[in-house]
């Protein structure tokens, strides 16, 4: 017998006999979890875990058969436990299949659970070997369980719908997109407080619940302290430079109460820490480019004066929104959601060491912040004037 033959036999024998099949999980033994919600349980020490599990038989198989029918594509599994891992393992009490987490799209944290700190709730996901870091993490207004009771307009699996909703939320830029990676990074870095997506289930016609993703949840350390509404959220995003797109509605320059909306094309920001009279201050440069979106007033806006006044109005709105967000953070929440501390740390590491201890309590609320907005309007679209212009 040749040598290679012996080697191959050793190899295959080793593989088949010793190995057994430890990590084998056939697809039909898995419960594919699409979304998870974490709430406080009735027992104050415990966590309630809500898992949305896909029902594959309703989703795949031979096209044309199955699928479409009236059966639901997902089912909910609810367990409790002292930690997330504990609750997750407890799923096996109710579920005949092995929980399969890696394809989870969203993690929803209930309001009350978030108020007690999210770090213990996130540990499990970061520790897993599967790719969780681009998982969307959000805070529910109310209980996370209710989110999964709502239906999506298009997707059979509401978790997938929510993930897509957040992914495309840059269209309006009215909420903070927060992946597990971002949250972990913010929690670990000194001088930044995490801000998460806010999600709620709202009643709509025909008694159905629908999902709304708007606004954001503000944290101090890892505890939820309050909410930012939509315009304040956009104020936050202006300062951090995360605005992707959206509309700004300004008053028409003709003075009447007619609206003009401007489409945001590009927004950048720069946070510059400076030394000012022996104290460190922050200057925020926001640079916005937009187009004329549409107008309801019947005047020609493409004249130089009107155009310039539109730009000024755009700048004013952005300034107002940012200032509102800043005021909320500094006065009401006293938490550095903008990461000003981190930028100071980068530029003035020595000074930062002194400020770090009492940053959220003293440093940040008293920080002097100036916001400068440069606003440009580039194009009026493909028509120059409304058709009944004077």
């Amino acid at each position: 017998m040749s040598k290679i033959g012996l080697w191959v036999i050793t190899f295959v024998l080793l593989a088949t006999t010793i190995a057994g099949c430890w990590s084998v999980h056939e697809l039909d033994t898995l419960a594919i979890i699409m979304g998870t919600g974490l709430d406080k349980a009735e027992d104050p020490d415990k966590i309630r875990l809500v898992a949305q599990v896909a029902v594959p038989a309703e989703l795949g198989g031979v096209p044309g058969e199955g699928g479409g029918g009236g059966a639901k594509a997902t089912t909910l599994a609810i367990t409790t436990g002292y930690t997330v891992r504990d609750a997750a393992q407890n799923l096996s009490r109710y579920f005949s299949r092995i929980a399969y987490w890696p394809d989870m799209q969203i993690l929803v944290i209930g309001e009350e659970a978030a108020r007690e700190g999210i770090s213990p709730l996130l540990d499990f996901w970061n520790r897993q070997e599967q790719p969780f870091r681009s998982l969307w993490v959000m805070v529910a207004k109310g209980e996370a369980k209710d989110i999964f009771a709502a239906e999506d307009y298009l997707e059979k699996i509401s978790a997938v719908g929510i993930a897509k909703l957040i992914n495309e939320s840059g269209q309006a830029s009215l909420t903070r997109k927060s992946r597990l990676l971002d949250v972990t990074r913010d929690l670990a870095s000194p001088g930044v407080s995490p801000v998460l997506t806010r999600i709620e289930a709202v009643d709509q016609a025909e008694g159905k619940k629908r999902i709304r993703v708007a606004g954001s949840a503000v944290f101090r350390g890892d505890r939820l302290t309050g909410w930012l509404d939509e315009s304040a959220t956009r104020g936050l995003l202006w300062i951090t430079g995360e605005v992707q797109s959206g509309a700004i509605v300004v008053q028409c320059p003709d003075g009447e109460k007619r609206d003009v909306s401007l489409k945001i094309r590009r927004a950048k920001s720069q946070i510059i820490p400076e030394e000012k009279d022996g104290r460190i201050a922050i200057r925020v440069e926001i640079d916005v480019e937009g187009d004329l979106g549409d107008q309801t007033c019947p005047i020609n806006l493409t004249t130089p004066e009107h155009w310039r006044s539109l730009e000024r109005r755009q700048a004013a709105i952005i300034e107002n929104e940012s200032a509102a967000a800043l005021r909320l953070a500094q006065e009401e929440f006293q938490t550095d959601i903008f990461g000003f501390g981190a930028t100071i740390r980068r530029k003035f590491p020595r000074e930062w060491e002194e400020m770090e201890q009492s940053w959220d309590e003293e440093g940040f609320p008293r920080l002097e912040v100036t916001i400068n907005v440069t606003s440009k309007l580039r194009r009026p679209g493909l028509i120059l004037q409304p058709n009944r212009s004077r």
């Binding site: 010793i18 430890w22 790719p131 990676l181 972990t184 980068r346 530029k347």
Partner: protein, 360 residues
């Protein structure tokens, strides 16, 4: 056996690149994060490069001076029979230990990331059968395998770094050198102690086709490693920021982030493939060094009878030496540099000095 084998300089370079960094891609960032976060990249470029290149140069000088002999032979020529034998034994045991350590590192990675329910011993056993097979074929085959795998693997690692660039935030690298020079240099010790294994290359000098360029080849492999290190370290910090301190396998985590065309491509499997290929070369290299060294030390004609028994010893060592992965990381951070540098910088220095004194 060895006399007929020929390895070229590029082959040697490729081999040592993997010899230094294969499992290091996984574990160096971990040990480095213990000391520095923002300045992690400086560990790779000025510090590792400088120290590593110096040590590789030292080994190259020793090797070219005695290009007809292997390391064991050099020891015996310079220090005489008894002390030479003693030094030789220490070196052989050291490489035995390094083989076991790297084997364990691969095993831990596989268990931790993709086969959580499979016992370590099964993974290590399967891997070792493969490695033993290649070691029996001799260094020439290992070197050629390295030649074919290296470019692919290196490109794969670089591509991963490029793909994840979307997540990078340059400002995470600041402040620069806030903690001074101490921590980065301390952090560089672990990678440097792996770079010091270039001493093993002296086992092959007789089979090199151009032994005069040994120095260049070894230094070049250190340079290649430091470029890879620069990419990985800077990218890890830019992506994870301060959170990198919390992460076990930074590079693996970078890959978990990559989402191309909005789907996860299962790139971590590609990465895992690269790591396994690389560490296959690393373990084969050290294993072969040990086997060849022991053959020399015992004065045997062939090394093949030694392959299987040593393999069993290595498997046993790798499983038994450490209790858990934390112990390994701690060991790599704290004790490995001391041991490695004493043996692999101390002994060559001693040998060179001896050669000077005895005018060899």
């Amino acid at each position: 056996m060895m006399e007929n084998e020929q390895i070229t300089l590029p082959q040697l370079t490729f081999l040592w690149v993997w010899g230094i960094v294969a499992t290091g891609i996984l574990y160096f960032p971990t040990t480095i994060s213990r000391h520095v976060v923002e300045d992690a990249w400086t560990v790779a470029v000025p510090f590792f490069l400088a120290f590593g290149a110096m040590i590789a140069w030292l080994h190259g000088v020793l090797g070219t001076k005695f290009s007809r002999m292997t390391l064991i032979g050099i020891c015996e020529t310079i220090c005489g029979k008894i002390i030479g034998k003693f030094l030789g034994l220490i070196l052989v045991l050291w490489f035995l230990f390094v083989t076991a350590l790297t084997l364990r590192l691969v095993g831990e990675f596989v268990v931790l990331t993709i086969m959580p329910e499979t016992p370590l011993i099964a993974i290590v056993l399967l891997f070792m059968v493969l490695v033993a097979y290649s070691v029996r074929h001799g260094i020439e085959v290992i070197a050629r395998t390295g030649e074919i795998l290296s470019p692919v693997s290196y490109v794969a690692i670089a591509v991963v770094v490029v793909l994840v660039a979307k997540e990078a935030r340059f400002e995470n690298l600041l402040p620069f050198m806030a903690q001074g020079w101490g921590p980065p240099i301390r952090a560089a010790l672990t990678p440097v102690s792996f770079a010091a294994t270039t001493l093993g290359a002296l086992m092959f000098t007789p089979s090199l086709n151009r032994p005069r360029l040994l120095k260049l080849s070894l230094v070049l492999s250190v340079v290649v490693v430091s470029t890879a290190g620069l990419m990985i370290e800077s990218m890890s910090t830019m992506v994870f920021g301060a959170a990198r301190r919390e992460i076990m396998f930074l590079h693996f985590d970078l890959i978990r982030l990559i989402k191309l065309l909005n789907i996860h491509l299962g790139l971590q499997s590609i990465f895992m493939t690269v790591i396994i290929c690389g560490s296959f070369l690393q373990v084969s290299l050290f294993y072969h060094l040990t086997v060849v060294g022991l053959r020399q030390w015992l004065g045997l004609m062939y090394y093949r009878p030694l392959v299987t028994p040593l393999g069993v010893v290595i498997i046993a060592l790798s499983v038994l030496l450490f209790e858990n992965i934390l112990e390994i990381v701690d060991f790599m951070d704290k004790f490995l540099p001391a041991a490695s540098l004493t043996l692999q910088v101390g002994i060559p220095c001693l040998l060179l000095l001896g050669a000077r004194v005895r005018r060899l």
